[in-house]
Symmetry: C2
Subunit: 668 residues, 2 copies
Amino acid sequence: MKKAIIIFLMVFGFQSILNAQELALMPLPQSLEINEGKFRIDRNFNIQIEGLENERLINGSYRFLRRLDDRTGFFFYQNNDFKVDTASSLVIQAQREGELKIHEDESYTLLIDTLGISINAPTDLGAMYALETLVQTLSVDEDGYYFPAMKIEDSPRFTWRGLMLDPARHFLSVSAVKKQLDAMASMKMNVMHFHLSDNQGFRIESKLYPQLHQLGSSRGEFYTQDDIKDIVAYAALRGIRVIPEIDVPGHATPILKVFPEIGSHTGDYEYVLETWSGVFDPTLDPTNEKTYEILKDIFTEVSALFPDEYFHIGGDENEGHHWDANENIQAFMKQNGLEDNSALQTYFSNRVLEIVEGMGKKMVGWDEIYNPKLSKKAIVHGWRDWEGLDVYAAAKDGYEMIISEGYYIDLMHNADVHYLVDPVDPELSPKAKELIIGAEAPMWSELVTEFNIDSRIWPRTAAIAERFWSAEDVRDVEDMYRRLDRVSLYLEQDGLAHNSSRESIMKSLSNGEDIAPLRNLVNVAEPMKVYTRNPGGKMNHNYYTFKKFADAATADAPDARKFNYLVKDYMKTGDAIAEKEIRSYLKTWEANHEQLLPVIQQSPILGEIKELSENLSIVSQYAIESLNGVNKTDSWKRKASLAVANARKQGGRTELAMVDSLELLINK
Amino acid sequence: MKKAIIIFLMVFGFQSILNAQELALMPLPQSLEINEGKFRIDRNFNIQIEGLENERLINGSYRFLRRLDDRTGFFFYQNNDFKVDTASSLVIQAQREGELKIHEDESYTLLIDTLGISINAPTDLGAMYALETLVQTLSVDEDGYYFPAMKIEDSPRFTWRGLMLDPARHFLSVSAVKKQLDAMASMKMNVMHFHLSDNQGFRIESKLYPQLHQLGSSRGEFYTQDDIKDIVAYAALRGIRVIPEIDVPGHATPILKVFPEIGSHTGDYEYVLETWSGVFDPTLDPTNEKTYEILKDIFTEVSALFPDEYFHIGGDENEGHHWDANENIQAFMKQNGLEDNSALQTYFSNRVLEIVEGMGKKMVGWDEIYNPKLSKKAIVHGWRDWEGLDVYAAAKDGYEMIISEGYYIDLMHNADVHYLVDPVDPELSPKAKELIIGAEAPMWSELVTEFNIDSRIWPRTAAIAERFWSAEDVRDVEDMYRRLDRVSLYLEQDGLAHNSSRESIMKSLSNGEDIAPLRNLVNVAEPMKVYTRNPGGKMNHNYYTFKKFADAATADAPDARKFNYLVKDYMKTGDAIAEKEIRSYLKTWEANHEQLLPVIQQSPILGEIKELSENLSIVSQYAIESLNGVNKTDSWKRKASLAVANARKQGGRTELAMVDSLELLINK
C-alpha cells in the first residue's frame, strides 16, 4: 500500500495553487501530483476510447458526459462508438475487461495537461474510477471550466468496499437502489450487500415457492426476478458486485411462515411477519433434514440470479430460545456432542456451507457463525466488539474476514467517528491482516425509508468509502469535512435527494409557514444516536413513514459542526473574527424561538421540539452574556448551568450537537 | 350536473368560519355544506370498514392513515381488517366494488360532525375519493388537529379524467410513474394514458418480438411485462385505468427499425431511433398486408397486459411524405378510390380498428384519424384547433370524443390558461355534448425527464383536474390559485418533488454558493412557452439532462403571480399596503443582480441568465423611480421604455413573468 504523496508544484502563482488546494477529491488517491496549467473545456470536449471498448466503458463514458453537461451547461453528444476523427480531449485506454471478483486490478493512472487528458488502466474497472476522479477535479476560474493539470496514480487499499442495503425492514424500489449504486460508484465502492430477507419481509420473487414473496411481503413490496437482473446489470456497469443475503437460521420468519414445519418451536405456533424492530425468537430447526432441503432450493434459486462468487447466509442474532425449549433439539445436541447453541449453529453453518459450496459459491456469514469448528472455507463478517468479544477473533484463527464493526451508519454517528476507525487493527499479525479482505458499511433500515434513505447514507458514507480506499494514514478530519461538504454537492448534482428531501420534510412540518426558523434548528440538531431514538425498537412501528423532525435532521449537523470548530479556535486563540461569527450564530439561535413559535402553533406536529427550541434560545442567551463579560454571580452560574443541562435534553428524538461548545463559552 | 352549493353556516363565531373559508378543496365538490363543530383527532383515531371490504378499500385506508401520520405526527396503526371493537372515528361504507370502466358510479357522501365521520358511496371508487377529500379538510387550531363539520355530496362532471405520460421520449422509471399515479388519485383523475411508443423509443418488453424493446430502446429503458402489471395493479388500487398507446402509422420508427419491410420508404432506407424532437417521415405502409399481421401481433401482446377496454393507436402527425413518394402506395390509392392521404389513413385506421375490436377492445386515436369514412366505433382524441380545424368536428359527426385541446401542459402555460378552457363548447348540440366523454392533459416529454417531471406536471395539473371533475361554473381564478398553493403543499407532503427538485437544481447551478439570489430570479421567471424554448426541436438533444435554469423555473412563477395581483390591486385602488409590498419586491429585485453576480462568476453555467438578472435590476429601478414620483423627462421615458423592452428578452430560455405590471408602474 502506497502512502499518499501530495505534491503541490507551486510554479504558476497563487491562482492555480489555490484551486489545487481547493480540490475535493474523495476518496483521496494514493498519489497526487498537481502540475501547472489547465485543460479548458469548451463545447467540443470529447472522448476517445482506445484499446478495450466494451459496454461498461461506453456506458460509463456516456454517463460521464451527462454529468459534465449538468455541471457546465454544455451538451457533449457523441455517438456511442466514442471514436473521434479530430483531436480528442480525453483518451481512455484500458487493457482488458475487469472481472467482478475480489483482488481484481482496479488501479488507474490519470494524466491531465494543457493539451488533453489521458486515462490508462489495466482494466476497465480502473478506467471507470479514473472518470470518477476526473469529474471531481472539474474547476472554474474567470474564464470558465477547466481540469487542472495533474498526475494521479491510484489503486484501492481494500478489494472489498461495501455498502449494505436492507430492503427487508423498509422496502426500497429499484430506482432507489439504483441511486445508491450511482453514489457508491462515485465513491469507488464496489460491493453492494443486499439484505433481502429478515423477520419483516422476504423481498425477492421465488418462482419455486411463490408464497415466500406473496406471504413474505405486504403490498407487493418485493423484487421480481427481472428487477434483480436489472439491479445486478446496473451495478455491473458501475463495477459493483452484488452479494445477496438470505438470513438464517434466525431472522427468518417469512421462511417459517411458509414452512412452519422447519421451525424450532414445538406444538402449534403461528409465525407472523414482524412489524416492529428487535431481535425475535423464530429460528430454523437445524436438526431437521427438511430444513436443508428447503434452504438448498431457496439458495439455489436466489443465487442463480447473482453472478457473484459470494453468498451471504446471515447467521446473526440467533439467541436460541426456541432451541432451548425444544426437547428434540436438546436430544440431538446431546447425541452429537454439541455442547451449546454456538456449537449447534456451527453444525448448521457447516451444513449450509456444503449447500453454498455445492452451488459453486463461497459462504459469508455474520460473526456469530464463527466457532473453531466452522469450516475454514467460510468468510466471517465481523460486527461485534463488545462484552469481551474480539471482532478479529476469526481472522486470528485463520478465517477470511470482512469488517463492519465501526461502520454501522444506522447508529447515526458523525462521519469522523467512522472515518477514524481502521478496518485493520495495526497489532494484528501480518497473516491475520492479510485475511481482512475489506469492509462494509451496513445501513440497517428500521428507521429508514425510500424517502429518507439518501440523507441517512450520504454524504457521511463518502468518508467511510475513503477509509476503505485510501491510504491508512489519510486521517485529517478537518480536511475530510472540507472535502465532504463539496462531495455533498457533487452527490446532489448526480441526483441524490439527501438535502432536498429534508427541505420537503421541513416544508411539510411547517404546514406552509416560512421554514427558515425550523431550518435554523434542524441545522444544529442530530438524530439521537446508537439505538436511543427508538428505544427497544418499540417507539416507531415499521409502517410509520419517518418524515418527522428527526428525519429532517442528520448526523454532522452543519451549523453545529461549524460552530464547534469556531469555538475550538476561539478558545485557543481568542480570535476576533471567530468571536464575531460565534456571536452571529448565538444571536440567531437566541432569536429563533420567537420566530419558530408561531410556526409550531400552526403545526402541532412540531410540538415535540418546542422545548428544544426554547432551550436553545435560553442557553444561547447565557453564552452571549458570558461573551459580554457579565458578572457571573452564583445565581447566574446556577441558572446558566441549568440552561446547559436543559439544552442537553432530547427534543423530537434529536439532540443539540454543540452544547459542549456552548458550555465552554458559558464557563469561560 | 349539479351546481356547486357552498353554504357557510355561521353559527359558532369567527374561528370556525375562518377555517371553513380557508379550506383548500381541489377539485371543488359539487355540493359543500360547512356546519358548526369539529371532529378532533387524537392518537385513537381509527377506521371501520363496513359493507364492502376489498383490497382497494383496505389499501386506500392504510394509505390514508399514513398520510394522516405524516400530517399530524401520530401513528395510527390498525390491523388490515379495519374492524374496530370500540367506537370508530371514521366509518366507510361502500355498497359494491366499482368497475374500472367509463360511466361507473364515482359519487360519494362525506359527513363530518363532532362525533365522527362517515363515508357512504355506491362503489369503493367513490369511497376512495371521499378519503381524498377528507385528507384535504384536515385543519388546525390552538388545540390541535381536527376535521371541520361538513357535509359533502360529490360526483364527477366527466367520466374520463386523464393525464398522459410519455416515457417514449424520456423514460420514466416505475417509481416515477407510481408517484404520478398517487398525485393523480389525490386529484381524482382516473385515466393514465401511457404513450409507450414513439420515434424515440419502444418502451415495453415484447416476448414475441424482443427486438422491439432491445433495438427500440437504449440503456435498457423499457418496462418489463412484470413492470407493466405492477403499474396497472398500482393504478387499479387507486381507481385509475391505464390506457396503452402504440402510435401508428407515424411515430413508429422503432417498429420500422425491427420490421423495415412494412415501411413506406422504397429502396434501401435505414430506420434510426430519433434523438431529437420533431415530426419525422417514417411511416408504416398501409397497403402491405404484413403491416396488419405484425400490428395484430404487437397489439395483442400489449393489450393483454392492460385490462382496460380502450386501446390507443396514436394516428397523429403523419405527414405522408413517404406515402407520396411511393409509387405502389399511389397506385393502391388510385385503385381503391382513396383520394388523398387522409382517406388512405382512414383505410388504415379502419383496418386497425378491426384488429382492436377483434381483441375485444375499443380503439382511440388522435384526431387525425377522423374522416367521415372512419368507423363510428372509433373514439376520437381531439387536440387540434388551428388553421380552420374544429376540434369538435368528430363529435358533431357522431363520434365519441376525448378532448386534449387546451390541456397541453408541455406548453408550460400558466394554470389559469388551462383552467378557463372547458372541455365542452357550450354551443355544441346536446347530442354532441353527450359524446364528449372526458378530457386529458398530455405531458409530452421532449424537455421532461424523471428528475424534473414532478414540477412540469404539478401543481398546475390539479387545476385541470378540477376542470374535469367540478361544475362548469367553478371558474374563480383567484380562488383557484389560493387553493392551488395549498394543494402544492399537500402534494409535497405526499411525496412529490416538484419543489425540492428545483431547489436541487438551484444548488447545483450555484456551485455551492448561497442560492438565495438565484431563487429570487427563478421565482419570477417562467420557462419559455409553447414550443419556443426548444425551437424546431433542435436546441435540446434528447440525451440532455435538463437541469438548467429553465428547469428550476416553472409556469406560474410564484413571486411574479403575487406581484401581478398586487399591481392590479394597486392600480385600481392605490392601496398603501399593496404599494409597500410592491416596493419590497422591487427593492429585492433591484438589489438582486449585485448578489447574483458573484454566484454567476463562480458558476459559468449561469452565464446565460446574467443579462436577465441585470435587466430585472434595471427595470425594477425605473419602477421604483416612477413610484417615487420622479420627473419623467423624455429621456427618462426613453430609457425606461428600453429597460422594459430589455426585460422582455429571454434569458436561460425563460422570461420574466411580470413585465406588464412593471410597465404599468413605470407608465403610471
